[in-house]
Structures are given as C-alpha cells and as structure tokens.
C-alpha cells in the first residue's frame, strides 16, 4: 500500500454490503439484483427473482433487458443501459465489468473493482456446457460471491446429453403416449430443446403457451431450436409420441388432460434426489441443471483464487464449511428473496392461459 497513511485499505464490506433490498454498492451508488425498487440496479440475469420491475435505472446485458421487457412490459424501469460481456463502466468510485455466467441467455457475472479490490458477484452460474448461452468465464478475484443452489456433495449432475438420451429412449418405448417435460420457461426449456436437437431429434417440439414468447426470443437471437409448435389447439390423438415442454407447475394440473396418457418428466438438478422427484409425482426425472453442481461450485471457487467467499441463496452451510476447511475465509450472505424462481414460477404476462 503506497497510499497516504490516513487512507485505510478498502474492506470488501465497504464495497458491497447485503441490505434488505439486496447487495448494495455504496461507493458505486447501485444495487445488484435488488428485490425492492431502487434508484440504480445492476442485474445479473432475467429470472424473476433476480430481475424485478420498478427500478429507476437498470444496467444489464441486452438479452436480460429484453427479457425484462417481455415479462414486465415497456415501462419496467425508468431508464436502461445495455452492457456487453467484457465491457467495463465506471459507476461512482468503482469499475463494473460484465462476464458470461453460463446460466441462461444473457446471464452475467458482475465484477466490481474498487481501488485494488475486485469482488465478483456471479449471480446464478454453471460451468457445464450449454448450447443456448455463452460459456461461463472464470474471473480471478479477491472476493467471490457464489450461489449455493446445489451446494451439497450429493448434487453431481453428470452429462445432460445422457439425460436427454433417457428421454428419447422413453419416447421410443412408449410411442402411444405423450411426453410432457417440465422445464423452467426461461433457459431450461430452450436448453432441453437444443439438447434434443443435438441428439438428432428432428420432429416438431410442442410448447405450452407460457413458453412461447421467451422461446421465440431465443430464436430471434440466433439460437437454432428447430421446428416448434404451440400445443394449444392440437388434437389429443396427434400428440401421441410427441414431446411437449411446459412450466413445471403445468405438468401436474388439469392442463395435462389434453395429452394421451402422458409420461411426466422434469428437467431439473433437484431430480438428483429421489424424494424430490417423487414429491412432484415425476415419472421420468431428468437431471439437467442450469446451476453449478457441487463439483462445479467447489472447482470454480478454488479456481477464482479468491481468498474470501460469500455464499448466497441455497445450501450455504455446506459450501461455507468446505471453503473454511480449505483455509478460505467464507461466510453466508443473508439475502432473502432468491431461489424461488424454481418453486413458484410465474408465467410471463398475458400468457397464463394454455
């Protein structure tokens, strides 16, 4: 430190601090993924628990801004500014840079640097390949803020392509039945479709109404998903032997009656645990996750070289313990309001029917 003796070094907590509204960057004058309306918000990705309407100014990737517009309408924020991956901007006393998080299309990690200290707020991320979004980029930093959705060593996700093979084998085995795949409408659904195409499945894939808008948006960004059809209005008999993507909540309600003897699948990292699959009445669990699994979380934390790790939403305890047992400073961040996107997904506006 060569600074004047009266300037003390920046403590990480002086740069980013958990408050009721979310992660607050005081020297930069903004919040990251705030859960309440704030003046200036920096948003990691478009899932509804991270991207909310009603902020003054929003800084995010173009894709995230577009998704917020799709979900909340034109006036979702006072003003917006799009950032590209690798682009850096100065906000107050800090520098903010966006890096791909590999979670969903447009998802970003946000590196906040103040003086010599760099904190990376990774939002939700995964280090596994995904044909529908830019791959996760490792950002060396001093403090790494990691999610912990699957922060237990029992979560090992394996290769998503093998899970899609399982689905296709079932379709071949039960040609008289419809296959209904529950998948979160932003990200997971498009990834499953892309994986099906990679596996050589070229028949039309059917969509629940709540998936259409966002999936068309993916296509408009150049993601090749093959022929997609709305399932609405299709005759029951015509759905035998087909695959339909639907929000997880729809796979257990009356809506499924339009399908011939449906096989209910669910694409989610939670499917790794049997009880979770059974609780949902899933017949064909597909372990496909858009979050890093245990090995991914721990490998990423180690590779960032961060000496300090903040752990948010999910199974914080285990990951904090793992970090500490490896000599890293680690603490849970008490942020509330994240992680519910998987449990209570709200359909995009005006698409509730179908």
């Amino acid at each position: 430190m060569s600074g004047a003796p009266y300037i003390t070094a920046m403590r990480p907590r002086d740069i980013l601090m958990p408050v009721a509204a979310g992660l607050c960057c005081k020297p930069g004058g903004f919040h990251i993924d705030p859960v309440r309306p704030v003046e200036r918000a920096v948003i990691t990705h478009g899932h509804s628990d991270h991207a909310r309407a009603g902020h003054g100014a929003v800084l995010a990737t173009q894709e995230t801004l577009d998704m917020m517009r799709l979900r909340y309408g034109e006036n979702f924020a006072g003003s917006t500014q799009a950032m590209r991956y690798g682009e850096e901007i100065r906000l107050g006393d800090v520098r903010v840079k966006f890096h791909p998080a590999g979670h969903v299309l447009g998802s970003a990690q946000i590196a906040v640097t103040c003086k010599d200290t760099c904190i990376v707020a990774s939002g939700d991320y995964k280090d596994a390949p995904d044909p529908t979004c830019a791959p996760f980029e490792l950002v060396p930093c001093d403090v790494f803020i990691t999610e912990a959705t699957f922060g237990l060593p029992v979560f090992r996700h394996g290769d998503a392509a093998d899970e899609v093979k399982k689905l296709l084998a079932s379709v071949a085995l039960f040609p008289e039945r419809a296959h209904l795949v529950g998948a979160y409408s932003l990200g997971k659904a498009q990834r499953v479709i892309a994986l099906l195409r990679q596996a050589g499945y070229d028949a039309p894939i059917y969509l629940h109404g709540a998936m259409e808008k966002i999936t068309r948006y993916y296509q408009s960004r150049g993601i090749a998903l093959g022929e997609l059809r709305p399932v609405k209005g299709v005759k029951k008999a015509a759905l035998a032997g087909t695959i339909t993507l639907a929000p997880p909540s729809a796979t257990s309600d009356l809506w499924t009656r339009r399908f011939p003897d449906p096989v209910t699948a669910f694409a989610s990292g939670w499917m790794r645990v049997r009880a979770r699959a059974r609780q949902r009445g899933v017949e064909l669990p597909l372990v496909i996750s858009d979050h890093a699994d245990w090995d991914g979380l721990t490998a990423t934390i180690a590779a960032t070289g961060a000496g300090e790790v903040w752990v948010t939403h999910g199974q914080e305890d285990a990951l904090v313990h793992w970090c500490r047992s490896r000599g890293l400073q680690a603490q849970p961040l008490d942020l509330v309001g994240y992680g519910d996107e998987e449990e209570s997904e709200t359909p995009l506006a005006d698409e509730a029917e179908a």
Partner: protein, 624 residues
C-alpha cells in the same frame, strides 16, 4: 446388480400398476436363473441374511468424506443409503494428477495472486485434452456477440475423467454374488466387501445395494405384485403361486421351471401357511348413495391388532399353530398363551384384544404386550390375550376363500362354537335396515350391541355378503367407517425435516396448546404429527417454516408462535392418554394434521384444559 438396480429405480418412479407389472415380468424374462430368483426374493421380502447396521454404512462414508458435509447432505436427502450412494467418492487410482479430482487447490490468497491465474490457465489446458468430454457437446451456432471472451473454461474435469482413464475396475457384482456372499460373509469382512462393491457399482447400483444390505428395500411394490409378475411369465393365476408360496425358497428354480413349462408344480408342505390378508377401503359420505344396505353385513371394527390364526396338521398328524400379523409376520412367539386355543385345523381372520373379566380393554392396554422380547408369566396374567373372530379362510383341509362372505360367516360361527374356547369368540354383526340405523349404531355402539365394550369400538366394517376373500384391497368389497376422531386446534411450534418421501421438506411438526404460564398464557407442546396434509399443503407449511424460523437448534427449527403470529393446525387424533414423559402430561394416539387454519390467529387455538376434559371423558382405562 446394476440391472436389478435399474429395475428398482424404474419401479420407484412408475405409478401405474400395469406398467410396474410389465417392467418386472420383462425383467424375469430377460434375466436368467438364479439372479431373477433372488430378485423375486428381494421384491417379496424373502431374502434372509444378517443385515448391515446403518452404523456400518455411516462408518464407511465417514472414512471417505467430511463428517460435516455428510451430516448436511443426510439431513437434506433424508435417506442414509441414498445419501451415501450419491456422494460416495470412488477410490482414485493415482494418475499423473496428484490433486483431488475436481478440486485443484490453489494456495488461498487474501488478494488475487498469480496462483489464481496459473490455476485458471491449467484448467483451460486440461479441458482441451479431455476429448471425451466434448463428445456431442459442440455448441450450436450462437451469434458471435454472445460468446464471451473467456470461452473454453470448464469447471469440471475430475470424476468422470479419472473413471474413464482407469481401466482397472473389476466388473460390478451380480445380484446372486451379492446375496450369496452376504449369506456367508463374516461380520468383520463385511465392511471391506461393501466398500469394494460400492466402488464397482454406479450410483443406482450403490443405492440398491445399500437398500438391500440394510434390509430397507421399500420400493412401493407389494409381494403380491411381484408374484403376479412372476405368474404372468407362465400365464398362471397369481393365486396359484400364493398357495404354494410358503413352501418355496430362493432362488425359486422349481417355481421358474414350472412357470416356463419345464417342470412340475411345486407342492406346499407348510401345515400352517399365511394367507394374504383382505383389507378395506375407508368409506366416504358420497359412497353411500351407490350402495344398497341389503348387500352388506356390518360388524364392529375393534381397536386391536388384526391377525390371522392358523392351525394345521403336519405329516405326522400333529397340530401346528401359528399367529401371523396382517403382513404375514409370524408373531406366535409373542402370544404363547393363545396357541393352546388354536387346536382345530383352520384359519381365522380376527382381532387380537386384551380381555379383563369379559371386557375389552383399550388399545393402550394391548400395547403393553406388543414388541416384547420376553413374555413373562406376569405379563400373560395381567394382560390376558383374546382373539375375536371376523372370518374363516380355511376349515381343516378346505380353502374357503372363494366362498361368499355370508357363507364363510356361517362356517365361522359353527367353527367357533365347535372350538368352544374362552379365548376365542365371534365378533357380533351389527343389524341395520338402512344407512340411518347404521349411522346411529356407529355413533353409539353401546346401545347397538357393543354394550360395555363400546369404548374399544373404532368404527364399523361393511362387508359385501357375496364378497370372496381376496388378497389386498379390492374395490367395493369391504369398507371401513371409523368413528369421528377427536379434533383440536393447536399452534405449530417446531418443525423438522422429514425422512423418506417427505425428505428435504419441513414435514415433522411439533404443536402446542395454550396453558397458564407464570406471567401470561404460554404454549405447551402436546404432540407431533408427520402426515395428514396434502402435498400442496406441505409446500405451504414448508414455506411458512422457512420464512418464520426464529431460531435453529440443530435440525429443529423454532417457528414463530405468538398470540398474533403463527400457524394454527387442526389436529385430529384417536385417543389421549396421560403421559408423565410429556411436559403437558398428555399424549395423543395417531395424531395427524387434518386442516391448516390460516384463518385463525394462534390466540384462538385450544387450551390444555380442553384436552384434560377429553382425557376424563375417555376414562383412564389403564388403571382399570
């Protein structure tokens, strides 16, 4: 073993009975002897070897993983075998990379140092030479602006690569190998053998192995279903298998030979075999409109233990008598005082009760005789056992199960008369002309023939006059109509994660009622309930618990419970008894959540005095 594990895994998720049958039958067809025989034994619970204690499994995983991480994982998954199967780290055969797979550990630095950069670089290089990982994973065309600068990083390289590189794993064991090894294996050799198998099997295989060796193979299929699937192999009636089953043993080579037309039908030599029990459906109000009272016979549903008492002659003409639980478990040893009364060949379906001076005692009293290792003369004297007969399944050599119930009932009356034993009597029928009369009888059994034993009546049973005795729970034949349970409103106080089906949700609830405290009213816990709610309600309570936790004590969450803040649960239960072990002084029998009272503020929940009044009304039978 992996093939059997795959079958179990698919069965666990398949809800449809016919699809389950198809899966099992096709397994029997595909897999040869003796593996399929041991599979049938596993599915019917007929395997016998000394089971591994859960403590042993815990030791195995403790030797390979961090105990805190294991504890947290177990708490989340809620199932020991599954937790171990999922997190089991295989022994890594050393290769060039000395670091633990998946976790290259850079020196942690308080500030970002060169270590991190170097490490990131190394990882990137590694990804490129792991060519098997990129198979089928080439990206679809993604517009260039989306692709970040840091492409090519893959966080994982560990487990799969080390496995793929290692060609030295022995082939996974067969089911036969596992079962026969377990039969003869010495206790001290078991841990190392298990460890070897766990290394050799895949995740599903590990799960099935652990379930098998701990004797906890519950996969939602009945022994009956497995036998039906076997019967389908030879187009036989499953009933035929049931009849010969008690004389068969794993790996059932003679059974499969017969089913495939390669051998004669095996003969059952057991003189006192168990017959699968017939069960009733709970009746709903709406069911009555479709039922004709004239088609049914009603009888009391006694609050005891359903048993099957069987006696038969062996080859030398001697009588063998056995008492079976409703699941077919031989419980003769716990009730030696009943055996001398079973001296006529036949099979009675009835209820085990305690009778004192001709009066039926409550279930609480009967409980004193259950699960006893030693049955002392004192116990026998103080808790005299009694069999109340409902049905007759066999009379000497004759199988009566195909006869209509009305006819079996006549035979039963004759049989019990002939037996003429003070320990065995007939459960009386309840005469009724219409549903109104039966409703009145159920509401007041004392006035409808149950007399002084009315307290031991749990409800009424309705049996179709023409119903044959069918195993399982056939539709529309037998109905049970329980008396209304007791109900109170209590306040949720603590929650714990459940196990098994409910794992990872807060599904075990401790609830309390108000009582006078030192300064003001306070809640005192009166019971614990794990079920009664729907899956939807479980999600709601789980969410409530997570959002309203005030403190954590280990796995227990202290949930807000103040006069104005908290969740009121309507709790239904069957009975109350005094309990010095509970702070409240009362214990409930069979408590369950019957409704969520989101509408009710906790201050309006019931008070302990209400329970004490119920207790008095229930009468303190234990002292009788």
């Amino acid at each position: 073993m992996n093939r059997f594990a795959e079958l179990l895994d698919r069965l666990a998720y398949e809800p449809g009975r016919n699809n389950k049958l198809r899966l099992i039958t096709s397994y029997f067809r595909e897999v040869g002897d003796p593996d399929r025989g041991y599979a049938l034994a596993a599915l019917t619970g007929a395997l016998s070897f000394k089971h591994a204690k859960p403590a042993l499994i815990r030791d195995l995983i403790a030797a390979r993983t961090d105990p805190v991480l294991f504890g947290l994982s177990y708490d989340y998954v809620g199932d020991l075998s599954e937790t171990v199967a999922l997190m089991w780290p295989k022994t890594v055969v050393p290769d060039n990379d000395q670091s633990f797979p998946g976790h290259p550990s850079p020196p942690p630095s308080p500030t970002r140092g060169e270590g991190a950069q170097r490490d990131a670089g190394r990882r990137t290089n590694k990804t490129t030479d792991n060519d098997f990982r990129s198979d089928g994973r080439t990206s679809l065309s993604v517009p260039s602006p989306l692709v970040g600068q840091g492409g090519g990083y893959s966080g994982r390289d560990g487990n799969e690569s080390s496995q793929a590189r290692n060609h030295n794993y022995p082939p996974p064991p067969t089911l036969t190998e596992v079962v026969t090894t377990l039969r003869t294996l010495g206790k001290t050799e078991l841990p190392r053998q298990l460890e070897r198998w766990l290394d050799e099997l895949d995740e599903t295989g590990r799960w099935a192995l652990l379930k098998l060796v701990t004797g906890a193979l519950r996969i939602g299929i009945s022994a009956r279903l497995a036998k039906t699937a076997a019967a389908a192999l030879g187009d036989k009636d499953p009933h035929e298998i049931e009849l010969i089953w008690p004389g068969l043993s794993p790996p059932y080579l003679d059974l499969f030979a017969w089913l495939e037309g390669r051998g004669d039908k095996p003969v059952n030599r057991d003189p006192a075999p168990f017959r699968p029990v017939m069960l009733a459906h709970a009746i709903e109000d709406t069911d009555f409109q479709n039922l004709d009272p004239a088609d049914y016979i009603a009888e009391w549903k006694w609050d005891g233990i359903r048993v099957q008492a069987v006696a038969g002659r062996d080859d030398r003409g001697h009588i063998t008598a056995r008492l079976y639980s409703r699941t077919g478990e031989d419980i003769t040893g716990s009730f030696p005082d009943l055996v001398p009364s079973l001296r006529l060949p036949g099979a009675i379906d009835g209820e085990l009760l305690i009778l004192r001076e001709g009066r039926v005692q409550s279930f609480n009293v009967l409980q004193q005789r259950l699960n006893r290792k030693v049955v002392s003369p004192k116990l026998i004297k103080e808790f005299p056992i009694h069999l109340r007969a409902y049905d007759l399944l066999g009379d000497d050599e004759n199988d009566l199960r195909e006869l209509p119930f009305a006819e079996r009932r006549e035979r039963l009356e004759a049989f019990v008369n002939k037996l003429d034993d003070p320990r065995i009597d007939l459960s009386p029928t309840v005469p009724f002309a219409d549903w109104g009369a039966l409703t009145a009888a159920r509401a007041n059994p004392a006035s409808a023939g149950a007399g002084e034993d009315a307290d031991a009546v749990e409800g009424v049973m309705l049996k179709r006059r023409d119903a044959p005795y069918l195993p399982g729970r056939p539709k529309g034949q037998w109905w049970k109509w329980k008396r209304d349970p007791h109900i109170i409103d209590a306040v949720l106080m603590y929650a714990q994660r459940g196990h098994g089906k409910r794992s990872s949700y807060y599904s075990d609830y401790t609830f309390g009622v108000w009582t006078e405290g030192e300064a003001s009213d306070e809640l005192v816990p009166v019971g614990k309930a794990y079920f009664g709610f729907t899956d939807e309600e479980l999600l709601q309570i789980d969410r409530f618990v997570r959002r309203n936790t005030t403190e954590k004590f280990g796995p227990v969450r202290h949930v807000v419970h103040e006069p104005d803040k908290g969740l009121v649960l309507e709790v239904a239960f069957e009975g109350l008894q005094r309990s010095p072990r509970h702070k409240s002084g009362v214990a409930m029998r069979f408590p369950r959540i019957s409704r969520l009272r989101w509408d009710k503020p906790p201050r309006e929940a019931d008070r302990l005095e209400t329970l004490e009044k119920m207790l008095k009304a229930d009468a303190a039978e234990l002292e009788a």
